[in-house]
């Protein structure tokens, strides 16, 4: 019997924002919880993120934006996933996301938005509960 496949997470920084403390901390926590984490680094276009998710066969895309560009970038990633016919990847966002922006982002298909002060255990729990089953 082969070992259980690890959950694969693509952590990404879309746009021009350079605040990567949060995303790096989350990468470390997800890895410590047994997931496989690929971090794209800064300044990724939505196209690059979707391409990386396909190439890495990611189960989860976790994006972080603190620059206020989330209303453009997050839905754009969802659009591109749809264009490629990818429906079962769990997409999450985090950063400085005003509460009033959350409903529209969820309607666009972002499964969850995690703001400042989130416990990494909550993120890990959310992923384990909602990730696609293989």
């Amino acid at each position: 019997m082969s070992a259980e496949r690890k959950i694969r997470v693509l952590a990404a920084k879309p746009g021009l924002d350079g605040h990567d403390r949060g995303v790096k901390v989350i990468c470390a926590a997800l890895r410590d919880s047994g997931m496989e984490v690929i971090y794209t680094g800064l300044r990724q276009t939505p196209e690059q993120i979707v391409a990386a998710a396909v190439q890495e066969d990611a189960d989860v895309i976790a994006m972080s934006v603190l620059s206020g560009a989330h209303n453009y970038l997050f839905p754009r990633v969802m659009e591109l996933l749809k264009e490629k016919g990818i429906k079962d990847v769990l997409v999450m966002g985090g950063g400085i996301i005003p509460e009033e922006d959350v409903p529209a982002l969820k309607a666009a298909g972002i499964a969850a938005i995690f703001g400042p002060g989130t416990d990494t255990k909550d993120i890990i729990g959310f992923i384990k509960e909602n990730v696609r089953q293989r």
């Binding site: 021009l16 403390r21 680094g41 800064l42 255990k121």
Partner: protein, 559 residues
């Protein structure tokens, strides 16, 4: 405390005290087994003159305005005048930001600090594909001299000092400021202000880099050389620990990595043929003021002493002004919580007080709503009032460096300095700050400290009031958060079209060609950039010209 007899009786008294403590501990243990600060320095139960053995006042502290400047760089410090109250601000278009500047100046702010949006900071015009969704968001969008002129409409440049948080394309924005001053008829010699111009911390902590390290260092030393000759009152760099700390470093790492970057700039400038005392006096610094009140005060003092020693002993600087570490401070954005945001007002107040007790030259106090959005006008006003209260009401500024001589603070200052020096030695052995960053050493150290901090919060060993203790269930979020007008991107793009259809495009092409030639050679790049800016060449066009010659930085894959 040199009297051996008194020292002996103190030792005896301390031994008795320790015995008593043992008994007390059996009945009532302390809150924690070990008390340790963010830098990993153990904090003792009590400090006495026994912890200051060998203390040499003149050697370690000196008087205010005297080497090694531990107490202050200036003899009278805040008795002369308070620190400059300078709130970092910028959002949307130049017109909207200009309005905020007039509001701040009317509220008693004494200097301006420009926040540029990310496309501007990374050298893209507002119509660039990568600028989508980012125009006017974290700062003001500046594409050309036109925007810069609108930004400073009605503000007399000879009366304000202006700080600009701009790094990779610093030369271009500085050139726009100079071109605008020329139009206003203000001589360059009267201009006062600061450009951040600190690329090394962009690679390690902040992320707005464009070019690889070598040409970036050339742009920086070109600015040093140009300003030394032409804009003598300008601070040509603000060597920044702020962002290193925000990225998660400890206090010791903040001092160490900042001063190591400083060493790299001084080395580069000397290599470029400048004399240390020509540019040394115009170097300035930028630190964070975090939550551990006394550790922060010790940090500021340690940084001042260490830089003075480095400039004197390592670089042989003679001009006292070259030895003086002058710094701006911002309170710690990363310490603000989205939960119970009004609590942030108190955090900012303590951090502002630490900065004042640490002897900062200027201060930005954060707004309480910044973990939620860009600050609203009310929040900005409270933030500014906070530092005004520290200055005008608490009287901490009435005597210079009032905590000096505290057994704990002096011990801590020594330890922060020593531990920072260890890091600098380690970085030297790696080949200097550029090499240490290229190898990912600095980034890994910061990342590990950030993860530790988060783990402490999640384990509850580090209490964040309102977040992991004293939570409330349903909280009301502050209203009236600032919303950037989504139309700003479209307006900037329309303005760019207008610019390109009305300016003399042949003159622009000629200026950019001259810049390209200069970039391929070794001439100072400030004059051709200034010439290009005056023809209304855009920021993006100028940076693209330089990208064509210098290439772009590729961050090492670290995770």
């Amino acid at each position: 405390m040199c009297d051996p007899q008194k020292l002996a009786s103190l030792q005896a008294a301390k031994a008795k005290y320790d015995e008593k403590v043992e008994k007390v501990l059996q009945k009532m243990p302390e809150r924690k087994k070990e008390f340790v600060n963010t830098s990993g320095i153990p904090v003792q139960r009590v400090y006495t003159p026994l912890d200051m053995e060998g203390f040499d006042y003149l050697k370690q502290l000196g008087l205010p305005g005297q080497y090694p400047y531990t107490r202050a760089v200036q003899p009278t410090a805040y008795r002369g005048r308070f620190w400059t109250m300078r709130q970092y601000a910028g959002f949307g278009s130049a017109e909207e930001t200009n309005e905020r500047y007039h509001f701040l100046l009317k509220s008693g702010q004494t200097g301006l600090s420009v926040a540029f949006d990310l496309p501007t900071q990374i050298g893209y015009d507002s119509d660039h594909a990568l600028a989508q969704g980012e125009v006017g968001k974290v700062g003001v969008a500046i594409d050309s001299l036109w925007d810069m002129e609108r930004l400073f409409q009605g503000i007399p440049l000879e009366q304000v000092s202006t700080s600009m948080t701009i790094n990779s394309p610093c030369a271009v924005l500085l050139a726009m400021y100079l071109a605008m001053a020329e139009k206003q008829g203000v001589p360059f010699a009267k201009l006062r202000g600061t450009v951040q111009n600190d690329i090394l911390k962009e690679y390690s902590s902040r992320g707005t880099y464009i070019f690889p390290p070598r040409p970036s260092m050339r742009l920086i030393t070109d600015i040093f050389a140009y300003c030394t000759a032409e804009v003598p009152q300008w601070n040509t760099i603000s060597i920044s620990g702020y962002h290193i700390r925000e990225a998660g470093s400890t206090a010791v790492q903040e001092v160490a990595f900042t001063l190591a970057n400083g060493v790299a700039y001084v080395d580069a400038a000397i290599k470029a043929g400048l004399k240390v005392d020509e540019f040394g006096p115009r170097l300035s610094f930028f630190f964070n003021s975090h939550l551990d009140f006394l550790e922060e005060i010790a940090k500021f003092r340690a940084a001042r002493r260490l830089w003075a020693k480095i400039m004197k002993e390592r670089f042989g600087a003679q001009d006292p002004r070259s030895l003086m570490l002058r710094f701006h401070t911002q309170t710690a954005g990363c310490s603000l919580t989205a939960q119970q945001p009004l609590n942030n007002i108190m955090r900012v107040a303590f951090q502002a007080m630490a900065a004042a007790l640490g002897g900062t030259q200027s201060l930005h106090t954060n707004s309480f709503d910044e973990a939620l959005a860009l600050p609203s006008e009310l929040a900005v006003q409270v933030a500014l009032r906070t530092q005004q209260v520290v200055a005008y009401e608490t009287a901490v500024a009435d005597t210079v460096d009032p905590l000096a001589g505290s057994y704990y603070l002096e011990n801590l200052t020594d330890q922060v300095e020593a531990k920072a020096q260890e890091y600098i030695d380690q970085i030297d052995r790696m080949g200097g700050a550029v090499a240490a960053i290229e190898q990912g050493f600095v980034q890994k150290e910061i990342g590990a400290a950030a993860y530790r901090y988060q783990q402490e919060i999640e384990a509850g060993t580090r209490v964040v009031v309102g977040l992991n203790k004293f939570q409330v269930k349903e909280e009301e979020k502050p209203k009236d958060l600032l919303k950037v007008d989504p139309e700003v991107g479209n307006r900037q793009r329309a303005r760019l079209q207008e610019l390109k259809s009305t300016r003399d495009n042949a003159a622009v092409a000629q200026a950019l060609a001259a810049l390209k030639t200069a970039a391929q050679g070794t001439d100072n790049l400030m004059p051709p950039i200034l010439a290009a800016v005056k023809t209304l060449a855009t920021l993006g066009e100028i940076c693209d010209t330089l990208r064509g010659v210098f290439g772009e930085y590729e961050a090492p894959a670290l995770i």
